[in-house]
Amino acid sequence: MAGHGDAHLGPADEALLRVENLHVRFPTGRGTVFAVTDVSLDIRRGETLGLVGESGCGKSTTGRAILQLPPPTEGKVLFEGTDLAALRGETLRRVRTRLQMIFQDPISSLNPNRKVEDIVAEGIRIWDPPPRSPITLVGMALAAVGAVVLLLSAFGVLGLFAVGVALLLAGAAVGLVHVVGGVGQRMTDAERAKVHEVLEAVGLDPEAAWGRRPHQFSGGQCQRISIARSVVTEPDLIICDEPVSALDVSVQAQILNLLEDLKARYGLTLVFIAHDLAVVKNVSDRVAVMYLGRMCEVGPPEIIYSRPAHPYTDALLAAIPEPDPDLRHQQREALAGELPSPLAPPSGCHFRTRCPRAQQDCVEVVPIMAPTGDGRFVACHHPLVDVQVDLATSGRAARSGPDQG
């Protein structure tokens, strides 16, 4: 159902990040996947925006599109007023240090063949490469000499050829090991200090962790390393893509607390993407609910969770099993039906095929975001909480069609 319209966006100059009419479409062999359709949102500095929804809703895709990884099909991503989608090459790469990402799987998001300090320091090194060690330089020199000898031996004799090959081999081996393995890079003192600082900040003992590789750490520790890597460049915004979903319950709490601490310490702004509503509520200042590529509802969590306006939010909340057996008898009937295919999303409101309140206008017209007066916005023709029509900005009423917007 959702939605489009931008009634829920605040003034442009107050937002650190402002996404306008984002569309992400993937051409596949079987047709076009409409992953994200006309999503707009904004975040103020220091805020945590929670992006919640089930699989296929496009929340992860939205997060990556914000980082231009890959760039969205359509739409603007305004970071401090600059449209990231319009940046290219070096300029875009430079901006990247200010927007970082944490991933769901703690282990596959770390390079298994690199040491922890190298992984964490990479962000700094890309922009401030440290000098090469002498051994690397010697190795590369040997390889160069060997290549020259080899060339000469083409006119000469077997003996030189062998010597040439040997030199090339040796030099290449040494050079390769050092360049590829990062062995040959000394850490500058500044780098070392920074890596120390962030490792400590995420709760790992730098001395004990130094020189180890990811497979020597547990899942929770790997996630901490991942977080350390993302704060080392001192970003303004971090997109957290399901950062705790793959972790045990008791570790989840540790990591959530850690994120709050780091947010305070480094002055971060977070986009927290998750499917677990309780987790999202715990960390967020505002929550946006997505379904099949569109936004359904956005607003403060207290309001959304206690009085959901959108039928999908309502169904989502009703489906959550609460750890309180007294609520057993309040279990409602589960939401019927299946998620439609993103190759052919329903016309009008995307949620209408499963919505108990759907009517004819839901088939024809895509609903737009409108305020309900309590700081929350909903995109629905028949919401559970009434929309304040007079406060709504005049959004465009779209005709039906899968990708209109």
Binding site: S218, D248, E260, A278, K281, N282, P321, L335
Partner: protein
């Protein structure tokens, strides 16, 4: 009430022989289950819950040794011949696995996979087999069952696949069903559908169900009795209402306090459980939870507590259980109780948890004396304290990761 239970498990222990030594994944677990009842087994990774259900069924790999007794309807499962077990599997006892992606054979049609089970155990003609398969698919809520029979797993959604997995499990009408994290890989709305389905089937067939999960919310609303596992042992077992109202074991309490809840406000600081799950190669000498337990005293580290009976079917394994003051503690008052008691005193007297002042972990919302403070595991082996006190700790061995479920 007949004294003959459907399932009677006594002192089950499972040990894996690994090159690094025996790993005691399950130790001394006992419980009973009757027809029409659901037992929930709750634990995190490393708790042994999955190993337990497989040990009971007899589905353990070659390097595992299972001791104890499992009487299923007066048939002894432990030590039974593979032939005898195969008669039981599918027909009397079935399992639903976590990941529907991998539980189904990707190159076999759905129909084939369902009929396989029917063909093995029931004496039906080909036509009858097919009819039974269609009826099964219909009963698990799959629309157009005839068409689905000739489809492959990848043509179905995750929720559909899990329904098929359940259909296969129920094909021969077993009396006992193990559901091993049946909804973990599914969206929350689909989860609700699947759990409703399981409940309906259980009622219709009067099955006994063992529901293994890490999600307290799921067991709170679907299980009659709950067993909480930690480090291979059952640390608390009680009827659901009793468990949540009068929990005794600190781990149960800590678990409940560490999960984000919908009824708590945003930015509530969660009380994480410090440390990591125990290393089952070298388990701690006393209570397995002691290294992470905020109430632990000397005896806890020395001697393993036995299973106590609090009456009413409530068993727990703790020397100093919480809530022993026999007030009725509701979930909401759990935090207040924690504030009232002064475990800090008892702890300060013992040099065990002698971490430096980092228990003031910036927990702004909770008073500093709140016990579950974050503990520095200097040796990284489940023992506490950076300056490991002069006691016979087990040698620093690699602990299990907190990890990935």
């Amino acid at each position: 009430m007949s004294t003959d239970h459907l399932l009677d498990v006594r002192a089950i222990s499972t040990t894996f022989g690994t090159p690094r030594g025996p790993v005691r994944a399950v130790e001394d677990v006992s419980f009973t289950l009757d027809r029409g009842h659901t037992l929930g087994i709750v634990g995190e990774s490393g708790s042994g819950k999955s190993v337990l259900s497989r040990s009971i069924m007899g589905l353990v790999p070659n390097n595992a040794t299972v001791t104890g007794s499992v009487r299923f309807d007066s048939f002894e499962m432990v030590g039974a011949s593979p032939r005898a077990l195969r008669k039981v599997w599918g027909a009397q006892m079935a399992m639903v696995f976590q990941d529907p992606m991998t539980a189904l054979n990707p190159v076999q049609k759905i129909g084939q996979q369902i009929i396989e089970s029917i063909r093995e155990h029931l004496d039906y003609s080909g036509v009858q087999q097919r009819e039974a398969a269609v009826a099964l698919l219909r009963s698990v809520g799959i629309p157009e069952p005839e068409r689905r029979l000739s489809q492959y797993p990848h043509e179905l959604s995750g929720g559909m696949r899990q329904r098929v997995v359940i259909a296969i499990a129920l094909a021969c009408g077993p009396a006992l069903l193990f559901a091993d994290e049946p909804t973990t890989a599914l969206d929350v709305t689909v989860q609700a559908q699947i759990l409703d389905l399981l409940a309906a089937q259980q009622e219709e067939r009067r099955m006994g169900v063992v529901l293994v999960t890490h999600d307290l919310g799921v067991v709170a609303t679907r299980a009659d009795d709950i067993a909480v596992m930690y480090g291979g042992r059952i640390v608390e077992k009680a009827p659901t209402d009793v468990l949540f109202r009068e929990m005794r074991h600190p781990y149960t309490e800590a678990l409940l306090k560490s999960i984000p809840r919908l009824d708590l406000p945003s930015h509530t600081r969660l009380e994480a459980i410090g440390g990591r799950p125990p290393d089952l190669l070298h388990p701690p000498r006393g209570c397995r939870f002691a290294p992470r337990c905020p109430y632990a005293r000397e005896r806890c580290h020395e001697v393993e507590p036995p299973l106590e009976d609090a009456g009413d079917g409530h068993l727990y394994r703790c020397w100093y259980p919480v809530g022993i003051a026999s007030e009725q503690t509701t979930l909401a008052s759990v935090v207040e109780h924690a504030q009232e008691r002064e475990p800090g005193d008892a702890v300060a007297a013992e040099p065990v948890l002698d971490t430096p002042a980092d228990e003031a972990s910036g927990a702004a919302t909770d008073p500093p004396s709140t016990p579950p403070r974050e503990v520095a595991t200097g040796a990284g082996d489940g023992t506490t304290g950076d300056a490991a006190p002069a006691r016979d700790d087990p040698p620093p061995a690699p602990p299990a990761p907190e990890g990935t479920r």
